[in-house]
Amino acid sequence: MENTSSEPKFTVSAPPHIRADTSVTRVMYSVLAALVPAAAGAVYFFGPRVLWIIVVALVSAVGTEAVVQRLFGRPVTVTDGSAAVTGLLLAFVLPPGVPLWMPAIGSAVAVFVGKQVFGGLGQNPLNPALVGRAFLMASWPVHMTTDWLVPRGGTKSVIDAVTSATPLSVLQDNHRILADPTSTSAQLAQAKQVLMQLHSASAHWHLFWGKCGGCLGETSVVLLLAGACFLLYKGYIGWRIPSSFVGTVFVLSWALGGREGLFSGDPLFNILAGGLVLGALFMATDMVTTPVTQRGKLIFGAGCGVVTAVIRFWGGYPEGVCYSILLMNAVTPLIDRWTRPRKFGTRR
């Protein structure tokens, strides 16, 4: 048959021949963009040195990924933005006063041990940034629990009288004092006073806006919410994990978090304080390390909530979000297996 020179050459491939306008790279850069308000807030609240922590964490994460991929003979894919997300999230879970070598080491461990040793993007079982944080926590616990800074226009603990720690550690310390039979009556009275202030509406507002001590990215709930709304709108995070995580913490802290029996706790304080919002919106929603099924996501979030509450109320640490997510990451493959969707035309 005749063959004219104008004959186009056709590409042959399996269908579909059209694709949704999205990519892993775009997901990653969208997450980075969603974290920008909280990052800016951190710089505002804790000063310009926070910017250096962020830069060091980012450079270390991206650099480690590039070097390790080169060494392992894999294609260097740092432009996909996933290492940068890990770096930025790691910076977010550090106290703002840590020395600059800590984000450097933390990011390197996060990317190397948390991600690349498993085969890189998509293969890691645990959230890399939280692996980095857990490593720093185990290695330099003093830095990780004391290097807090006073936020602009506020106090570390949201209470004027207490100047030392974060709201959650103040809560834990004072609960200990109240539970301790050797406490003096003056101590008891002061502890009660502190707790009352902690659970006041003004303290809640401070926590909401970010005028409180804590890790640099977790302070401002409103800025985190702004970023998360963008991701929700884009469909890059779902509502299931954050709502079941936050909802579970809400119910458990209300039911079990108080000192005067069941349902005497302050659920709002427990949601606004610490890393819960950051964790629930940006870490428990990490696609790679969380379930893909709809029911699995609800279970995952609820599991995170339970572990967080258990650690906060009965554990040694004031905060449990990081370990709750890591623990639930570890059981994600099991959750996915248990919650396989019902195949069309079959009974469950």
Binding site: F10, A20, Y236, V292, Q294
Partner: protein
Amino acid sequence: MTKQRSFKGGVHPSAFKELTAGKPIVRVPLPQRVFIPLQQHTGAPAKALVKKGDTVKTGQVIGEASGFISLPVHASISGKVVDVGFFPHPLFRQAEMVAIESDDSDVWEEGIGKSVDIDNLSPAQMREAISRAGVAGMGGAAFPTHVKLSPPEGKQIDTVILNGAECEPYLTCDHRLMLEFPEEIIDGRKIILEILGCQRACIAVEVNKPDAIARLKQSVDGNELISIVPLKVKYPQGAEKQLIHAITKREVPSGGLPMDVGCVVQNVATAFAISEAVNLNKPLIERVVAVTGPGVEEPQNIWVRIGTPVRELIDQCGGYQSGVKKLVVGGPMMGVAQYTDEIPVIKGTSGILVLTAESSPSPPSQPCISCGKCVETCPMGLMPNMIGKLIEHQRFSEAQEYGILDCIECGCCAYVCSAKINLIHLIKYGKQEIRLAGKEKGV
């Protein structure tokens, strides 16, 4: 407004139907040469009844059915058989075809086109007429229609669904047919009901074709046995199992057929062909094809004789635009990409789609980040991410446990995939390996 029916999962690709939706179906000059494949349907190929040098009339049987799940094929133009041999086929790469050179007179076989008094026909005779006319499902799968209309003893059909969803982007042939030939479609429905001894029928149309819905409603005015069901615009709304579920809330069991839940689904174009076959004794030798896409100069809906080379249709539409990348037979979600435009139109060809690099990107795959979009959108409730990973590692039996054989290959998973993993490619490959392994065991 009636409730729009729908199913779980699915995607919302841009429809691009405006290219041809407003254009009436046109007739173009008959092709000089047609290539009529002996296999255009699911089942056994027809056996050639003509040889090189024979003269044939339009509508003459040139290949006879070779079994129950098989169909005859007919000459679509009159002229001389110039070859019986292997030529490029839109589905099977190379297949046996009868090449006919036109004598430019289009002389029809005796007895075609004369009205038949169908009141005297028994259901079996009607079914026989449909089989004789070579009618196959015209939505794409091309399953012999008389087989679908022969439910085995004990399977009572209570619902006939005429599928006018046309959920694939770009395609508009069913839309135009419903607009221009609603009476014939409704008449085809009547024949189907009679054959099946069934009472209830509906025509299901996505609500993005309000004119077609209105036109059909007007045509069925007063007939209570047929309803026009508006469907939500969502792909794959027209997939058989999803359509049945949307309308009856019944689920075709895994591995089962629509008749297992008392349903028969026929494409509206098939209903039209059924009407022509029974009323006019007319074999299926032409169909409406949407020649469309951004890569073709002037997209159109065309009455096409079966066997017409695609190249000729493209020329009828003003030729290719620059930057053509893909030639697809069918829609962009499930259609088959072709390596040549010398393939003929066959009974199941609903569209000829010419895509440019811009409209059909081939982005590089990235690692799966388990975003779960594929699981969310899979209308069959599968986990395409797991199936894809298992196939990549050649773990076929595990892929089977994950339901790969239930996959309808609608393409939603690959469409939404953030990592642009070619899931349908993997699934097709996996199914083939499983089939081959099954055959080996069978031997």
